[in-house]
């Protein structure tokens, strides 16, 4: 009877092989510890305030905002895959759809959680909706992210209700079926919301006139960073999905999606990344030669402060931009799993580097003549909260993979015709 106590096989989809429950719990335990530490650190920040962090009035954006921008960009695979499958009818990407939703849900819920700590005063969270700063792009970001997290939660429900035990409850089963039929509507709404908030997050930096390193001109009310953020997010999202799926395949030792799906994602990611790199290059040249000089700043002075020298610019555009874009577009790369994943990882690193530069380098550089170069090292509470969000993501994904149909023919919902 002891073996039956330590088994959860009746919760696992029939025909699916999963590791034993003790091994699974062993895998989860370090992540659970990290999550517990993160929750403790977050509790300290919420209870004592932001003096627990190394941020201040000058350095108001740090590790947390970098994390937010990073995971929101990488989570773009969710809306973009939904857009491709449901709006553009690219059915070949269906095998990756469920995992895209879960990854997106984790990324956005993690981002919202960390924002709650950063903003503080969670009991006054509703203020942002009732007393918003109508002159801030963050208002639009707040509204869109809140709505999109709701959309992702609704997209997650059908997957959740397909759990082997939950699907035995008829009302859950029928609701899942009916909601699944309406998912294209949610996919369209998600696409609209994502385009706007991805763009507004970029626009947030582009409108900072007081920060010439970040300030950009653009089109009508939108600075160029608005469009660059959208492009970079939809370029890196598919790459991140490839990375997650390949990692799960490596850990589980199973082939989860056909190689053609990887090839298709690689092409999409590579093409968009190439367009992004081209746009980013033009934008950088315009900024270096027109925007910055007109504001009275010699462009190369931005790169005189170590460690933020020109190698970072080179790395962002060439090493983690042009190079992975070329690799992803090259047909031979798609056939070589190692090369493909290296390129995907480089693309994701490039986007993270871009978010880091805009968040940390922007604030570190002096703007006024009496300003000094600022350095910022996050406190352990910031790092622990950061780690907690990563642990949360790993735990949620691990549980989803174990108990929900994320991949394959059984994974993709088989809906019968009628009603």
């Amino acid at each position: 009877m002891a073996s039956s106590v330590l088994t959860d096989s009746r919760w696992i989809a029939r025909g699916e092989e999963r590791t034993s429950l003790p091994r699974f719990l062993l895998w989860l335990s370090p992540w659970a510890l990290l999550l517990a530490l993160g929750v403790y650190a977050a509790g300290l920040c919420l209870y004592y305030g932001l003096n627990q962090t190394n941020m201040d009035n000058r350095f108001a954006f740090g590790l947390w905002i970098f994390l937010d921008l990073g995971v929101i960009a990488l989570g773009a695979g969710a809306f973009f895959t939904g857009f491709l499958v449901y709006i553009l009818k690219r059915a070949e990407l269906k095998p990756i759809l469920n995992t895209a939703v879960v990854v997106g849900f984790i990324c956005y819920s993690g981002a919202v959680a960390i924002l709650m700590i950063d903003v503080g005063q969670p009991l006054r969270a509703w203020f942002t909706f009732w007393h918003p700063n109508t002159h801030s792009m963050l208002t639009e970001v707040t509204f869109c992210i809140s709505c999109y997290l709701l959309v992702l939660s609704l997209e997650y429900i059908p997957i959740l209700f397909r759990n082997r035990q939950l699907r035995k409850i008829p009302s859950f089963f029928i609701f899942e079926h009916q909601l699944h039929k309406l998912v294209p509507v949610l996919a369209a709404v998600g696409t609209l919301l994502s385009f706007f908030h991805q763009g507004s997050l970029g626009g947030l930096y582009g409108v900072l006139r007081g920060r010439p390193f970040a300030f950009r001109t653009g089109f009508l009310i939108w600075p160029s960073t608005f469009f660059l953020f959208i492009l970079s997010a939809i370029a890196s999202g598919p790459s991140f999905l490839m990375l997650v799926t390949a990692t799960v395949e490596k850990v589980t030792g199973r082939r989860l999606v056909p190689q053609e799906v990887f090839g298709r994602l690689a092409f999409i990611s590579g093409l968009l990344l190439a367009i992004y790199v081209a746009a980013k290059s033009v934008d950088t040249l315009v900024w270096l030669n027109v925007t910055s000089p007109s504001a009275g700043f010699a462009p190369w002075q931005y790169y005189s402060h170590k460690p933020f020298g020109t190698p970072i610019l080179f790395a962002e555009i060439v090493v983690f931009g042009l190079l992975p874009a070329s690799l992803l577009l090259f047909r031979k790369t798609a056939e070589h799993r190692g090369l493909l994943l290296t390129a995907a990882a480089m693309a994701c690193c490039g986007i993270l580097l871009n978010r880091f530069v805009l968040t940390v380098q922007t604030l570190a550089l002096p703007t006024l003549p009496f300003d000094e170069f600022l350095s910022y090292v996050p406190s352990w509470q910031e790092v622990a909260s950061f780690g907690g969000v990563i642990a949360y993501g790993v735990i949620v994904y691990s549980l989803s993979y174990r108990y929900l149909p994320l991949f394959g023919s059984k994974g993709e919902t088989t809906h019968v015709s009628g009603n």
Binding site: S4, S9, R10, R14, G15, W130, H131, P132, T134, E140, F143, C147, L150, V151, L154, K168, P170, S171, F173, I174, F175, H177, Q178, L179, K181, L182, V185, L186, V189, L192, L193, K410, T414, H415, V416, G418, N419
Partner: protein, 274 residues
């Protein structure tokens, strides 16, 4: 920002932004409400019951969805696409007239000819009073033996074809037994009586169409021999190559006799759970 807040003044930007936001929020809200309403409608019109079984059926392994005519040897290979409801199968009559070539061996199990069999291992026996008796077939009885507990429906309750008729528990595992016929429960039995339910069928039992979805004659032997093959493969010692035993009979209380087997899978496939 909103009216009632000090210093608030409407601008075109406010109206545009709020309108867009409200449209998005209303769309999300309407989507959820629509899904809830459709779910309630499906339950109200009993479509939900039919849908649950059809969805479950579509996810069964192909080996469990073989057509009755294949089991009887009338056709070489055919997968059922009617959720085992031959009453709505356009091809039924076309194949039913063909001669059955399947062999009939006893396999050591008792499958009397006076009853009809459902793929979920239940049987139906028409009675003289117009009611039918429903019980668990011999293979299922060998598997489960004496259940630890049984949860029967109440007298007067309605059951529907391929929906859960009653539940049993054995060694901590719950088994949902599918109903072989639709109708109203008129009497309750149990393992000691050799049957579980007496049912007043919704349809006329003198009409052959009422039992058409159930297996009979050579189909039963073809079906049971495949079920036995499946069981032998599933109950073999772990990490041993598949081998089919020739001869021999099932021992009673198999769940107790082979406790190390993957009973979740065995029970799911036996009682048609996806």
């Amino acid at each position: 920002m909103f009216p009632g807040i000090d210093g608030f003044h409407w601008t075109f930007g406010h109206i545009l932004f709020l309108s867009l936001f409200l449209v998005v929020a209303a769309t999300i809200f309407a989507t959820v409400i629509s899904a809830v309403w459709r779910t309630a409608r499906d339950f109200r019109t009993r479509q939900a019951i039919d849908f649950c079984w059809k969805a479950n059926f579509s996810e069964l392994p192909i080996s469990e969805r073989r057509c009755r005519h294949e089991l009887a040897g009338r056709v070489i290979s055919r997968t059922c696409d009617n959720a085992f409801d031959c009453r709505h199968c356009a091809k039924y009559s076309q194949f039913a007239v063909l001669p059955a070539t399947g062999h009939a061996s006893s396999l050591g199990l008792d499958y009397p000819n006076d009853r009809f069999y459902h793929r979920g291992h239940t049987w139906v026996r028409p009675e003289e009073d117009g009611n039918v008796t429903v019980g668990l077939d011999d293979l299922a009885e060998h598997l489960v033996g004496n259940p630890d507990s049984i949860q029967l429906p109440g007298v007067g309750d309605q059951i529907d074809i391929s929906q859960t008729a009653w539940r049993m528990k054995k060694n901590g595992r719950e088994i949902a037994v599918r109903a072989p016929i639709e109708g109203e429960i008129v009497e309750l039995g149990g393992p000691t009586k050799g049957w579980f339910l007496k049912v007043r069928p919704r349809l006329d039992t003198t009409n052959p169409l009422t039992f058409r979805h159930l297996l009979t004659g050579p189909e039963v032997h073809g079906w049971i021999s495949r079920e036995m093959e499946r069981l032998q493969l599933q109950l073999r010692t772990p990490n041993t190559p598949p081998a089919l035993a020739d001869g021999g009979t099932l021992v009673p209380e198999l769940m107790n006799a082979v406790p190390e087997a993957d009973w979740d899978t065995v029970l799911a496939e036996t009682f048609l759970e996806a």
